[in-house]
Amino acid sequence: MVQKIALEIKNVSKSFKLPTEKSNGIKNSFINWMKGRRGFKMQHVLHDVSFTVDEGDFFGIVGRNGSGKSTLLKLISSIYVPDNGKISVNGSLVPFIELGVGFNPELTGRENVYLNSAMLGFSNDETDEMYDDIVNFAELHEFMDQKLKNYSSGMQVRLAFSVAIKAQGDILVLDEVLAVGDEAFQRKCYAYFAELKRHKKTVILVTHSMDAVQQFCNKALMIEKGEIVKLGNTAEIAQLYRELFMGGSQKAMIKTERNGISNRNIDINTKLRKTDDKLTFDVRMRSKVKTGNPEITFVIRRDNGELVYRWTSGEKIAHKLNLNTICNLRIGIENIFPNGIFDVQIAIREKDRTKDYAIFDNIISFEIINKGSHPNDIYWKPKEEYRIDEIAQ
């Protein structure tokens, strides 16, 4: 079977004019012109990007924030025009840069469905036909005549996604829509992607989730600083992405670190050092107010909020802490963490709970990827012994 090309991107470059000062006034335009300033700075976002997507491809585009992938998507959706190069699309293209484009909080759910599908190019009659399907998928029967502003955000997303997936274009462009909705709805979306894949739909998916890329895509593109880093099969791309941006082969990787964090009571400074079998946290605290008998609580949570580790000074240390001088706390934990993303939270309170000095969320966020293990291996592996006794009856 000869594969037809669905989308061709050839030597596409794009740069933006970033205004250096507010230059959308006539006065500023005039001053800039008088002083010979251009009033803007050129920002090169994409540089000489070329690739093709064949019909039936589930094509992933991955990259970090600011790598240019959203710009690329907007170019594909012809929201922006390229400076150089050309983009040719074969067939009708339905973009979802964002869910619920044109949703208006003052309209009812029903009216919004009609408005949104008009934006996607469906006439009233066509929307009539798919209306029931949309409502069924969203599971929002009893809310359709309520104004959208009375919906919860999750319900809005569900409605938007339901309209989106009923739009039957030749090429589907999806941006980060995976990270929405509750777990049950997310499963439904994944099931929908699987269905798209089964039906050999042409899909272009922009995502941060390597799991999604590996699960659905058959080809992927990694982009960084506006240039293609690699174009190839998904396993290679996912591997490369993890190595480059998640510290891949290391045992633990610090995702974000908010070094100096403070409120009006307390300054706090946290560092994480990791070795193959140990994670060491250094927390440096200094109080700006007089503290009585403070208690420090150190908590690690999974990114879904599940509590995985808790340490409290009140239980471990008998003497009174003095935070008015600089106080260092070092906690070392055996690295038995499974794959996943974890956040550290620190709370400093008066021991009798009369006063909260500080509660800091996400002081450090780190990701654990165990080399050699399956990426979906998300269970704890404590040291274990087991024995099976077969006792004859």
């Binding site: 061709e8 933006f16 004019k17 959308n24 006034g25 006539i26 006065k27 335009s29 907007k74 959706s77 012809s78 929201i79 922006y80 025009v81 050309k86 040719s88 699309v89 009708s92 973009p95 840069i97 964002e98 484009v101 044109g102 208006n104 003052e106 309209l107 009216e111 009609y114 408005l115 008009a118 934006m119 996607l120 190019g121 469906f122 006439s123 009233n124």
Partner: protein
């Protein structure tokens, strides 16, 4: 958007199979164009509908306001200018003339001002999905056009009550209304394009609109200016808004109204307002079209 690759293909294939592929190319391009206009129409309809639903939401009288507003404005103008200052004394049905002119002017003001803000107000939408940008400007003016037609019915009712004799001239009125729509749309396109680049236009436009209101014979009859200077009154009449308002007054209310056709005295000079409207429509349309490719980056 032009699709260069299909064009290239066509040229490449033309060498081998001239006839077959010319047909093929025409077919796809025609289908594409038809699809594009169908999409524009669907979207336009939905945007106008939404706009109308939202406009009077939460107000008790709802749609009635689009009639009440100009009538209330008219009442004030009538009391101040016609009753106290005795403007238009001796001109038959001047009150209805005033109401008609106010209606036409408020259509122009509404479509130009709404059209100007349309692109910027829908900026977040334009950055999410690609559709022909002119749709949002047109939808703003269509909403105003619906208002105008409701108000014209009110004007006609007033005219009947006032005992205006209608003549066959009334059949020519739609032509002038078409000109008014084209003129307002052209101004809206021009302002919308400028407003994306310089937000100052919003303030400048308010002043220009106010000036235009007084420079047009709406609250005063043209004879009032002619009494001071005939030349000045002729120049005033060359402003397209004045030309259209006077034409409609002539056609609908009183055939003694001065129009460019019976007052200027030179046919070619009398054509200036219409030629200006056409020129403006072409230039504003081109300017908008050329700039609209970059709107999403500039908003």
């Amino acid at each position: 958007m032009q699709n260069p690759s299909i064009r290239d293909q066509w040229f490449a294939v033309k060498i081998f199979h001239p006839k077959r592929h010319i047909l093929c190319y025409n077919h796809t391009s025609m289908k594409k164009t038809a699809g594009k206009y169908r999409y524009s129409l669907i979207l336009l309809r939905e945007l106008v509908k939404t706009d109308f639903k939202l406009r009077y939401q939460g107000s008790v009288l709802g749609m009635l306001w689009s009639v009440l507003k100009p009538v209330m404005l008219f009442a004030v103008m009538y009391i101040v200018f016609v009753r106290f200052l005795r403007f238009g004394a001796g001109i038959p049905h001047f009150a209805v003339s005033l109401l008609l002119a106010l209606t036409l002017w408020s259509f122009f003001a509404e479509s130009a001002s709404q059209g100007m803000r349309a692109i910027v107000d829908r900026g977040s939408l334009l950055r999410k999905i690609n559709f022909p940008k002119y749709i949002v400007v047109v939808s703003a003016t269509v909403s105003a056009l619906i208002n105008l037609s409701i108000n014209l019915v009110v004007v006609l009712i007033f005219a009947i009550i006032n005992g205006v004799d209608f003549s066959w001239y009334i059949l020519l009125a739609p032509m002038v209304i078409l000109q008014l729509y084209i003129f307002s749309l052209a101004v809206a396109f021009l302002l919308a394009t400028l407003y994306v680049k310089w937000r100052d236009i919003g303030h400048i436009w308010e002043v220009i609109l106010q000036t235009g209101f007084y420079a047009t014979p709406i609250i005063y009859p043209l004879t009032l200016v002619a009494a001071q200077s005939v030349l000045a009154s002729k120049i005033l009449l060359l402003n397209p808004m004045a030309q259209m308002i006077q034409d409609l007054r002539y056609l609908l209310i009183y055939d003694g109204t001065e129009t460019v056709w019976n007052y200027i005295g030179n046919f070619w000079v009398a054509l200036i307002p219409i030629l200006f409207t056409i020129m403006l429509a072409i230039l504003a349309g081109l300017y908008f079209y050329k700039s609209s490719r970059r709107f999403t980056e500039e908003i």
